[in-house]
C-alpha cells in the first residue's frame, strides 16, 4: 500500500488481548486469508470460501450501547478492513481465556466425542463459543440454530448437540477481568471518523456518517457498496473480481438504525439481518419459519436486509414476504431521497430501478394490522440454509367470508421477486373457499413461467406454487390440521 503517512489508514483490531495493526493488505483480503496466509494462524479452516460450511467461523466482539456483544461470522467472506475497531476471536484464542487449559466449549466437545476428522471442529467450537457467551440456558432450538451454519460430514451432529448442552456444566463463564480489558481496548480503538485505505488502483472508504457517504458516492459513483459482504465476498473469492473502489456502509451511523413510526418500521442499510429479523419478528410472528430458515447465524450477523433487497436475487427469501407486507425501499442519491414500493425496484433479472450513485438506504415495512392473514413459505431440498426452489408469501384480509385485499408474491418463479397479479385478482373480492383457491392457482400459470435449474424443474415450481396457496387455505381454514412438516413433532 502506498503509505499516505496517516495512521488512520491502518486496520486496527484486537487479537488475543492486544491491538493488532495491519498496514499492507489489499482491502479485499478476507479475514481467513489474513489468518492463514499472512500470520500463519491455521486453526481456522477453509471448507468452501463462500459462507456455506462454517469451517471458517470466528467470533467478533464489539461494544454495542456500551455492552460487549459476541457474534459468529464467516471469516472466508469477510474483508479484513470491516473488522476495524472490533475484537477478533479465533479458535486459538480460547485456551488463553481459560488459563491455558481447554475452554469449557472445547472440553465439552472432547468429552462428548464431538470431533471425528476434526476439520469442521474449530468452526463449531466458535459457533458454540458465541452461544456460550450470549445465552445462559439455551433451549434445543437455540442450540440447533447456533450451529445451523456449520456443516459436519462425519458425526451426524448428535455429539455436537450434546456438547452444546454439556459445555455449561463443564464450567460457567468466568472472564470478567478479561472482558473489562476487552471493553477498555475496544473503546480505545473505536472508529469515529471516515477511514480510507488507498490501494494502487483505487480506494476502500468507510464513511462514518451519511454526509461523508454521499460525498464519497458523488466522487466515485461506480463504487462497490459493501455492507455485510455476504454477496460481495463471493465476487472476490469465487469470481476473482477486482473491486477498485469500495465504500463500506458498516460505520455510517445513520444507516445502522431501526426506527419505528405508527405506520412503519424502518431498517437502515447497515442493520444486520439478525437485528432486522428480531425487529420484524416482533411485528409479524408468522415470519418465524422463513427467518429461522433464511440463513445461518454467521451470515445473518454479517449480511444486511437492505443488501438482500438491493441485490434483488430472484431467489432471495426476504423479498416475497416484504413485498406482500407492502414494504417500500428508501433510495438515496446525494441529498435526494425517493421512496419506491419494493416490487417496483426490480425491473428484470439483475436490473434495478437504481441510478448510478443511488443506493438502498433503508427498507420500510408497514406495521401489522388487525385481521391481516399473512404467511410466508419456503420450499427447498434442505430445511436450513438452502436457497429456495419456490418462496411464497401471501397476505389477505377476509371480511364477511370474502377476500377484501390480497397480495401474493413469489421468489424462484420469475427473473425477479414478483407479485402474482392475476392470482391476486382471482382472489380479490371472491369468497374465501376452495373454489376460489382453485381459480387463483389456475391464474398462477398465467402469472409465471418458471425455469428448470439445479433447484427444481419448471413443472415442480408451478405445481408447488399453487399447492402453497392450498396450504395457506388449510392453515387459515382448519388451524388444527397440521399442514407443514417444518417443526412437526411426532406424537
Amino acid at each position: 500500500m502506498p503509505a499516505n503517512g496517516n495512521d488512520t489508514a491502518a486496520i486496527r483490531f484486537l487479537l488475543d488481548g492486544d491491538v493488532h495493526v495491519v498496514h499492507d493488505v489489499s482491502p479485499t483480503t478476507t479475514v481467513l486469508q489474513y489468518l492463514r496466509d499472512h500470520i500463519r494462524r491455521c486453526g481456522t479452516k477453509e471448507g468452501c470460501a463462500e459462507g456455506d460450511c462454517g469451517a471458517c467461523t470466528v467470533v467478533l466482539a464489539e461494544l454495542v450501547n456500551d455492552e460487549l456483544r459476541y457474534r459468529a461470522t464467516n471469516s472466508c467472506i469477510q474483508f479484513l478492513p470491516t473488522i476495524d475497531g472490533k475484537a477478533l476471536l479465533t479458535v486459538e484464542s480460547l485456551k488463553a481465556l481459560n488459563g491455558g487449559r481447554l475452554h469449557p466449549v472445547q472440553q465439552a466437545m472432547v468429552e462428548c466425542h464431538g470431533s471425528q476428522c476434526g476439520f469442521c471442529t474449530p468452526g463449531f467450537v466458535m459457533s458454540l463459543f458465541a452461544l456460550y457467551q450470549t445465552i445462559d440456558n439455551p433451549d434445543d432450538d437455540e442450540i440447533s440454530y447456533a450451529i445451523a451454519g456449520n456443516l459436519c460430514r462425519c458425526t451426524g451432529y448428535r455429539p455436537i448437540l450434546a456438547a452444546a448442552r454439556r459445555m455449561y456444566a463443564v464450567g460457567r463463564k468466568n472472564n470478567a477481568a478479561w472482558e473489562q480489558r476487552l471493553e477498555k481496548l475496544l473503546t480505545a480503538i473505536r472508529v469515529t471518523t471516515e477511514k480510507r485505505l488507498a490501494i494502487p488502483n483505487g480506494c476502500y472508504t468507510a464513511p462514518s456518517n451519511i454526509d461523508e457517504l454521499t460525498a464519497r458516492l458523488a466522487a466515485a459513483p461506480e463504487s462497490t457498496i459493501l455492507a455485510g459482504g455476504t454477496d460481495v465476498g463471493l465476487w472476490v473469492t469465487k469470481q476473482h473480481r477486482d473491486l477498485p473502489e469500495i465504500i463500506y456502509l458498516g460505520n455510517v451511523k445513520e444507516l445502522g438504525r431501526i426506527s419505528q413510526t405508527d405506520e412503519y418500521l424502518e431498517i437502515g442499510a447497515s442493520v444486520s439481518l439478525t437485528d432486522a429479523f428480531a425487529a420484524l419478528l416482533e411485528e409479524y410472528s408468522d415470519l418465524e419459519e422463513i427467518i429461522r430458515r433464511f440463513a445461518s447465524p454467521p451470515i445473518c450477523n454479517s449480511g444486511t436486509l437492505c443488501g438482500n433487497v438491493a441485490n434483488g436475487s430472484p431467489i432471495g427469501d426476504s423479498m416475497p414476504a416484504l413485498i406482500c407486507l407492502g414494504a417500500s425501499v428508501v433510495l438515496r442519491k446525494g441529498a435526494d431521497v425517493r421512496i419506491l414500493p419494493m416490487e417496483n425496484l426490480y425491473l428484470d433479472y439483475q436490473r434495478k430501478d437504481l441510478a448510478p450513485g443511488e443506493f438502498v438506504a433503508a427498507v420500510r415495512v408497514p406495521r401489522w394490522r388487525e385481521g391481516q392473514l399473512f404467511r410466508s413459505y419456503k420450499i427447498s431440498k434442505r430445511f436450513e440454509q438452502d436457497i429456495c426452489a419456490v418462496c411464497m408469501a401471501i397476505s389477505i384480509d377476509v371480511v364477511d367470508g370474502h377476500v377484501s385485499t390480497a397480495r401474493v408474491a413469489y421468489g424462484g418463479m420469475a427473473p425477479v421477486p414478483k407479485r402474482a397479479d392475476r392470482c391476486e385478482r382471482a382472489l380479490t373480492g371472491a369468497a374465501w373457499n376452495p373454489s376460489t383457491v382453485g381459480k387463483a392457482i389456475q391464474a398462477l400459470s398465467r402469472d409465471f413461467r418458471p425455469i428448470t435449474d439445479v433447484r427444481a424443474t419448471d413443472d415442480y415450481r408451478l405445481r408447488v406454487a399453487g399447492n402453497l396457496l392450498r396450504r395457506f387455505f388449510v392453515e387459515t381454514d382448519q388451524p388444527d390440521q397440521p399442514a407443514t412438516v417444518w417443526n412437526y413433532a411426532a406424537g
Binding site: V91, C152, E384, R463, N467, A483, V485
Partner: protein, 780 residues
C-alpha cells in the same frame, strides 16, 4: 490404580479420539496447515469446460504472463507416465488431445500465491471441437458405451422360477450419486529433496498408490518418493484414488521448479474435478409366493462410471455381491452394466457400490409387500437367510454368522414398531395433507477387500528406553478413529497407558506397500498387524526378564503399567524397557497381517470374498407433505453390530455419522448436471448435505451389546466404517411408506434422492396412474 496385578482393559473403553484435544483447539495440523518455506509455489488446475471435445489448440500465453505466475505445466512437461489411474492406465494427469468431462484437468499454473494461480488458470484460451457427449445411463446403454464389459452372476433357473411363481412383479428406480463433501478439500504439498527425491504430503487414504503414481509420472523409483499423511479432514472414499491427481501435479511442479509446491483445491474446483458415488439405474423382475417369499429374481444394475475405469470394476462387483442384502435368493440372475459417460469418473464412496445394490432388493421387497398388502417387515423376514439352510449367497459363500433375525427383533421391540404402525395408520386416516410412514430395514455387509491381495498390512513399533511407544501402521486417519483404536490395541498388549503411545503419520518409509484405508478394514487389518508387532516386543521383553531374573517366562506378567517378574521383581514398564535396552534387546518390531480364509475368483465372481459380515437394522419414521413433497425424519431406532467393540464411543460415532451421511444421499443431496455436462451442484450453496436440524428429535442408537465376531478378528471386533451408511435405507423406505398411505396397494415409484420434487412426483404418480398400474399386474 488399586490393584497393580490387574490386567487393564484399554480395548473396549470409550477413549477419546487421539487428536480430539488438537481438533478442538485448532492445533491439529492438516496438510494445508503444514508450515511451508518462503518461496513455496501455489498451484491451480485449469480444466475443461466441455464434456466431450477434441482440443484443437490450447494457448497458455495469457496464463504465463499473468501476475505472480512462475510456471505452467501441461502434458508435455511430464517426464514419465501421464496417468493417475489406479487400476487401468486411462486417467491422464493432463489431457492432451481429447477432453471427456467438464472438469478434466488440462494444465496447472504455479504462482507465488494461491489467489494468483487461481486467477491465472482462468486465462487460458482453448479451442475445442465439440463431440457428442453421453451424459446419462440410458444414453450409454443405448449406445453400448461402457468402461468395462457387462458382467453376469447367475444361480439356478431364475427365468423359469419367475414364470412359475404365483405372483410376478417388475420395476426399478434410479439412484443418484453423492459427493463426498469431505470438509477438507483435496490438497497436497510436494517438496523436492536432495538427489532428485521427492517428499509429498498428501491428504490421501492411499499413500502407497500416491507414491507409485508420482514415481511413475516422474520416472523415479519408489525409493525416491516419500509420501506422508498425518490426518485427513474426512475421506469417505473420496481420497482413495482421487488424491493422486492432486499429488502428481504438486510433485510435477516441485520437480520442474525445484521449489516446494502446494495444491489446495477450491471447493468448486474439487467438486467439478473429482469423482463421486456412482449413480445407478436398477431394475428387477421377480416371482414370489403368497408369503412374499422370492422364488426367482432377475436384477439389473447399470452404473454411471463416468469417463474412466478408476475403481468401477470392484465397485460394481460389490454392488452385485450386495443385492442379496439379508435375503436368500435361490434362483437369481444379476447383470451389471458399467456405463461410460462424459462426467467425472465416479469412485469409491463409503459402501462402495453395496448401498446401491442393497437399495434395489429393499425396493423389491417393499413392492412385494405392497402388492400382497402385507407389512414389509413380514416380507423381509420371510426372505431372510436361514441358519442351516437357505444360507448360501448367490456368489457361493455360506453365511455362517447370521444374526439378523435377532437384531431386527430387538429393533422391532425397542422402536415399538407394531404400535407405531397402528398409530401412524390412524394419523394418516385423520390427516389429508401430512402423511407419516415407518420402515424397519436390515443391513448385512461383507467385510474385506473384494480384491483379495489388498487384504494385508504392516505396522512398525518402536519402544524408546524411557518406556514410551511410537506407533506406525499402514492405515490412514481420516476421522474414523483408526489411530485411536490401534493405539488401544497396543496399549492393551503392552499394558501401558494410552498417553505413552504416540501415533505418527502414515508414511511410505515406515510401512511399505500399504493398501488404501478402505473397505472398512482399517482396524481389522492394522489392529492385527500392530498387535503382532507389540506381541513381538513383549515376547522379547518376557524372554529377557525371564532369563535375567531366572524365572519361568510364564511368570513374567504385564499389568497396568507394570511387569511382575515371578516373585523376583516388579518393575515399571519403563524400567524393564531400560533394562532390556542395556541388555541389548531390540525394542523395535514390525508386524504383518493378512486376512485368513478369503478366496474369491474375480472371473466367476464366486468364492468367499468376505471374511465375515457386519449386521445392523434401523427403524425410521418420517412425515411428508403431500402438497409440496417435503419430508422430515422424526425418529430413528438403530441397533448395529460391531462385534466386541474396540471403542464404543468411536463406533457409535461411525454408526450415527454413517447413518446421517446415508440419509443425505437418499434425501437432500442431489447432483445435477446441466445439458452440456456441467455439474451445477458444485458447492455447498447448491449441494445440500444434512445439517444438525436433520438429526431427528427422537433417536435410540445402540451397539449390539451381545456382539462377538465369530471369526478371530482383533479382539473379536467388527469393522464399522461402511455398514451403518446403509441403515439410512430405512428412511427412504419410510418415505415410500408414507407415499403408500395415499396409494392403496399400489407400488410406489420413488427415485433417489427423495427430494421434495421426487416425492411429489411419486405422490402424483400413484394418484394419477393407480388404475392403469393395477391393470398391469398379473396374478397366475
Amino acid at each position: 490404580m488399586n490393584d497393580l496385578t490387574e490386567t487393564r482393559n484399554t480395548v473396549g473403553t470409550a477413549a477419546p479420539h487421539e487428536s480430539a484435544h488438537l481438533h478442538v483447539s485448532g492445533e491439529a495440523r492438516y496438510t494445508d496447515d503444514i508450515p511451508v518455506p518462503d518461496g513455496t509455489l501455489h498451484a491451480a488446475i485449469g480444466y475443461s469446460l466441455r464434456a466431450h471435445a477434441r482440443i484443437r489448440r490450447m494457448v497458455l500465453s495469457h496464463v504465463e504472463a499473468a501476475p505472480g505466475v512462475v510456471a505452467v505445466l501441461s502434458a508435455a512437461d511430464i517426464p514419465g507416465d501421464n496417468n493417475h489411474g489406479p487400476v487401468v492406465h486411462d486417467d491422464p494427469i493432463f489431457a492432451a488431445e481429447f477432453v471427456e468431462y467438464v472438469g478434466q484437468s488440462l494444465f496447472a499454473v504455479l504462482a507465488t500465491t494461491r489467489e494468483a494461480a487461481r486467477r491465472a488458470a482462468r486465462l487460458a484460451s482453448v479451442e475445442y471441437v465439440d463431440l457428442e457427449p453421453v451424459l446419462d445411463i440410458d444414453t450409454a446403454l443405448a449406445q453400448q458405451s461402457f468402461v468395462l464389459p457387462t458382467r453376469t452372476l447367475a444361480r439356478g433357473e431364475p427365468a423359469a422360477r419367475i414364470k412359475s411363481a404365483r405372483h410376478r412383479l417388475s420395476g426399478g428406480l434410479s439412484i443418484g450419486g453423492q459427493d463426498h463433501f469431505y470438509l477438507e478439500g483435496q490438497v497436497a504439498l510436494a517438496e523436492p529433496g536432495e538427489d532428485a527425491t521427492m517428499v509429498v504430503h498428501s491428504s490421501t487414504q492411499h499413500i502407497s498408490e500416491v507414491q507409485r503414481l508420482v514415481a511413475d509420472s516422474l520416472c523415479l523409483p519408489a525409493t525416491d518418493v516419500l509420501v506422508q499423511c498425518r490426518r485427513m479432514g474426512g475421506g469417505f472414499g473420496g481420497k482413495e484414488t482421487q488424491a493422486a491427481l492432486i499429488a502428481c501435479i504438486a510433485a510435477l511442479g516441485a520437480w520442474k521448479t525445484g521449489l516446494p509446491v502446494k495444491l489446495t483445491l477450491d471447493r468448486d474446483d474439487d467438486m467439478h474435478i473429482t469423482g463421486k458415488r456412482h449413480p445407478f439405474q436398477v431394475s428387477y423382475e421377480v416371482g414370489f409366493d403368497d408369503a412374499g417369499r422370492i422364488q426367482g429374481a432377475r436384477l439389473t444394475l447399470a452404473s454411471n462410471c463416468g469417463r474412466s475405469v478408476d475403481l468401477s470394476d470392484a465397485i460394481n462387483a460389490r454392488a452385485m455381491l450386495h443385492v442379496d442384502n439379508c435375503y436368500y435368493l435361490s434362483d437369481v440372475e444379476i447383470v451389471s452394466h458399467r456405463c461410460k459417460t462424459n462426467t467425472q469418473s465416479h469412485t469409491a464412496f463409503r459402501g462402495f457400490g453395496g448401498p446401491q445394490g442393497m437399495l434395489l432388493i429393499e425396493c423389491v421387497i417393499d413392492d412385494i409387500a405392497r402388492y400382497l398388502d402385507k407389512d414389509p417387515l413380514e416380507v423381509r423376514r420371510a426372505n431372510f437367510y436361514g441358519q442351516d439352510s437357505r444360507n448360501v449367497t448367490p456368489y457361493g459363500m455360506t453365511v455362517e454368522d447370521n444374526i439378523i433375525e435377532r437384531i431386527v427383533g430387538e429393533v422391532e421391540t425397542t422402536a415399538g414398531y407394531r404400535d407405531r404402525r397402528k398409530a401412524i395408520a390412524e394419523f394418516n386416516a385423520r390427516n389429508d395433507i401430512l402423511k407419516r410412514g415407518i420402515a424397519l430395514t436390515p443391513v448385512k455387509f461383507g467385510i474385506a477387500f473384494v480384491a483379495t491381495h489388498l487384504n494385508q498390512t504392516g505396522a512398525l513399533i518402536h519402544v524408546y528406553n524411557d518406556g514410551t511407544v511410537l506407533l506406525n501402521h499402514g492405515g490412514t486417519e481420516m476421522g474414523q478413529g483408526l489411530h485411536t483404536k490401534v493405539a488401544q490395541v497396543v496399549a492393551q498388549e503392552l499394558q501401558v497407558d494410552l498417553d505413552r503411545i504416540r501415533c505418527t503419520a502414515t508414511d511410505t518409509s515406515k510401512v511399505p506397500n500399504t493398501s488404501a484405508t478402505a473397505a472398512s478394514s482399517g482396524s481389522d487389518l492394522n489392529g492385527k498387524a500392530a498387535q503382532a508387532a507389540a506381541v513381538t516386543i513383549r515376547d522379547r521383553l518376557i524372554a529377557f526378564a525371564a532369563q535375567k531374573y531366572g524365572v519361568d517366562p510364564a511368570a513374567v506378567i504385564f499389568h497396568a503399567g507394570t511387569v511382575t517378574i515371578g516373585s523376583k521383581a516388579r518393575l515399571s514398564f519403563a524400567e524393564l524397557v531400560h533394562e532390556a535396552y542395556v541388555g541389548r534387546v531390540s525394542l523395535s518390531a514390525t508386524g504383518y497381517y493378512r486376512t485368513p480364509k478369503i478366496k474369491y475368483d474375480p472371473v466367476t465372481l464366486t468364492g468367499r470374498p468376505f471374511f465375515y459380515f457386519a449386521y445392523g437394522a434401523a427403524a425410521s419414521e418420517v412425515v411428508i407433505d403431500t402438497l409440496t413433497g417435503e419430508s422430515r425424519l422424526l425418529r430413528v431406532d438403530i441397533l448395529h453390530d460391531v462385534g466386541e467393540s474396540l471403542n464404543p464411543a468411536i463406533d457409535l460415532g461411525q454408526v450415527e455419522g454413517g447413518f446421517i451421511q446415508g440419509v443425505g444421499w437418499l434425501t437432500s443431496e442431489e447432483l445435477w448436471w446441466r445439458d452440456d455436462g456441467m455439474l451445477m451442484s458444485h458447492a455447498p450453496s447448491t449441494y445440500k448435505i444434512p445439517t444438525s436440524y436433520d438429526w431427528p428429535d427422537e433417536f435410540t442408537v445402540n451397539l449390539v451389546h451381545w456382539g462377538r465376531n465369530k471369526e478371530q478378528t482383533i479382539y473379536r471386533s467388527k469393522a464399522v466404517g461402511e455398514p451403518p451408511l446403509m441403515l439410512s435405507m430405512s428412511v427412504f423406505h419410510a418415505i415410500r411408506d408414507a407415499i403408500a398411505a395415499t396409494a392403496g396397494d399400489q407400488p410406489v415409484q420413488l427415485d433417489a434422492p427423495a427430494t421434495p420434487e421426487r416425492i411429489l412426483a411419486a405422490l402424483e404418480a400413484v394418484g394419477i396412474q393407480s388404475s392403469s398400474r393395477a391393470a398391469a399386474r398379473r396374478t397366475n
